[in-house]
Assembly symmetry: none
Homo-oligomer: 420 residues x 2
């Protein structure tokens, strides 16, 4: 089954808007076991709409479009498609009534232009729009799909562009329709989130051991983000769940230490969760990361139960007077040193009376590096009742990536300490 | 000139990753005067890659792909394209050297798999990857473009997928290449970045006054992001620069106070710049934003010259013992109050001996609100030699949006104080 998504909107191609519709639709469809085989963004011109849809009709069994159904002059999808498939636009009483109702409910008078949305391609089924005026449209199209001119049927599903209209219409009306039409999907998927292991090493480590499962239908995917790699195990065959689960247990034996969560869960959410369960508190002393670690921890709802706070000791003055790093150490070893990371973690744990204190001191760049301590050097300290550990890392990236990677390393150090 | 973007990555079609590459590339190209006519996402399979690129070659003069150039088994773009255009993969000494160098610099041994990236399609030009191992590739392809079998040339530009590799490679190597090849674009564009004024009010205010320029060819665009709106003035006609510049001066008279920068400059970069020029320092006391303000300030290279540091006083304990907020105030007014915001700013200014101290205390949610102080309430304080001001804002959004908006309001308060 081939499924394509076409997002219309000139703003998507000028870069002024991020294409969040793509992710929303792909995620939902994927979770249901449908594979999106292609996604396309095109500007709001009749020619581009006709050209893209006509291309997709040659390939796909289901085509979902977003946008271009409204009443204004740059809403061209409805007209373009009617023309492409050779159908007249006909007035739909029920849709016209829904539009009238929409304005009545909101005590607004119906603008002249709204009625145009009640003209739909002949034979189309209208999906009701609870949060706007443009109906969704479902159209069955006969197409010649290959060199044998074999006739097939494609399902065209046209959805409105505004997210607050699109999302509920998709969830409440399109999903049941797709489930009903394609009932025999077999699908199981698991995403394992790892940190601290590069993508290439991860693949090398598990490649051979999971081969037997691939022969049974396992599909393996890797997705590298800054400081982390997601490993995706999925199968679309009979017995999918067993195959994925058995492969997962093999993978966990090999690289389990690096797996911090499943699915969508972030590293900071894992940490807040463990701290809560253990009734422990953490405090952070950040220099080079400048608040990135604290920002991430406090993105998690309920962080206030486990997070004392942080000192962003960007200046030496803040390191000395707030956290109690000794002037002598700063002079002898430099602000970016194992000794200063140690004193930051220990000083902050004392100040905050927290169970754990993390410290980071490094050189984010682009300037400030030296031969001995190049840009990218960072010392990360962790102080707890079992003592203080300092690790040195080297992250020679741009400034923001450096901050992100170092924050990931610090959070992972804490996670490992929490579960050990 | 037709330009298409092809983003490869199964993760884009399963919805596990948002397609930020699309926006990055479209935005950059648009600002240079290039219009992207289509954007396509496809999974990492050789068949889909060949099919999509072969389709694009029929339409586009320039095709930019992202992803699939790395060393793992799901990196298939290089091989698929070589096959599609009928070129052998040949070993490139210089690329191999760059890869070797990359690992040497990082004190890591070169994995066996890395060398595969030094095999590039015959005749391709390699773009050096400063932040990774996969080179970018530029390939000139002869194509038959229409029913007359007229031969044309398409430029295929293959770029790596990781953002920290893609972005600098595009900016430093691809832009000059495109500019050089397409020199005769008539285009002038100015982006004015505003904060503190909603999109609808902005549009209402300038709509009539700029009409005369629109009649001459001015195109106006609005792009709303969290806590800010970009106003884009552009023209693609003869005299483009004059039209845009005159329209800009009309706009500045009407809403100049809300404009904090032009182009890509962030609010935090503006602030660091002004502080540097004035030789002043700032310190931050954050509660509800949990490090977001500090994180933003320290994203700016050179922040260390003007940023003392911050205290993320998430707990009352940190507020009292580090910044010196009185226990009495916390009890009588609550942690989220004008009085506490005032004491935080004043306490921190004293502690840090900075010229300016900002404070934030509020309720980020989802829980913790009350009837009197609902989720979204925030008090922002600013203390300087001219005294202390506290403002109350209401940002009833999700947690991360709340943090971003509040940080924007705090930074804007500081900017206004700095330029007044």
């Amino acid at each position: 089954m081939k499924l394509e998504i076409i997002n219309t909107g000139t703003e998507l191609l000028s870069g002024s808007v991020l294409n969040t519709h793509q992710q929303f639709l792909c995620k939902r469809l994927y979770e249901l076991g449908f594979e999106v085989t292609r996604q396309i963004s095109i500007p709001d011109t009749a020619d581009e709409i006709k050209s893209a849809i006509s291309d997709s009709l040659k390939r796909a069994d289901v085509i979902i479009t977003t946008g271009g159904l409204g009443p204004t002059s740059d809403d061209r999808t409805r007209d373009a498609i009617a023309e492409l498939i050779g159908k007249k636009l006909v007035f739909d009483e029920q849709v016209a009534l829904n539009i009238k109702e929409y304005f009545k409910k909101r005590n607004r008078s119906e603008p002249q232009s709204a009625k145009i949305q009640a003209y739909i391609p002949e034979g189309a089924i209208a999906l009701q729009n609870q949060y706007g005026t443009a109906p969704g449209l479902v159209i069955e199209v006969d197409v010649e799909r290959n060199e044998f001119k074999k006739t097939a049927k494609s399902l065209l599903i046209l959805l409105p562009g505004p997210p607050r209209e699109l999302y509920p219409m998709f969830d409440k009306q399109v999903i049941p329709l797709l489930k009903d039409r394609f009932q025999n999907l077999t699908f199981f998927c698991k995403i394992l989130r790892t940190t601290g292991i590069p993508e290439s090493i991860l693949e090398e480590t598990i490649k051979e051991p999971i081969k037997p499962f691939e022969e049974q239908g396992l599909i393996v995917g890797y997705c590298a983000r800054i400081g982390e790699v997601d490993l995706r195990l999925e199968a679309r065959v009979k017995d999918a769940e067993r195959i994925v689960t058995e492969a997962e247990s093999v993978v966990r034996k090999l690289i389990g230490d690096f797996i911090y969560a499943e699915g969508d869960t972030t590293l900071e959410a894992v940490i807040v969760d463990i701290l809560k369960k253990k009734g422990k508190r953490v405090a952070v002393a950040e220099s080079c990361t400048g608040g990135c670690v604290s920002h991430r921890i406090t993105n998690v709802p309920g962080a206030s139960d486990v997070f004392w706070g942080a000192v962003i000791s960007y200046s030496n003055d803040a390191k000395m007077r707030v956290i109690g790093v000794s002037e002598n150490s700063l002079k002898s070893y430099g602000a970016v040193s194992e000794q200063v990371a140690k004193e930051m973690a220990e000083g902050l744990r004392k100040l905050s009376k927290s169970d754990y204190a993390i410290s980071l001191t490094g050189i984010a760049g682009p300037s400030g590096g030296s031969e001995q301590k190049p840009v990218g050097t960072v010392f990360i300290g962790l102080c707890s009742s079992s003592g203080t550990v300092v690790k040195k890392y080297f992250n020679p990236y741009d400034r923001e990536t450096f901050k992100r990677v170092a924050s990931q390393q610090a959070l992972e150090m804490l996670r490992r300490a929490l579960i050990s």
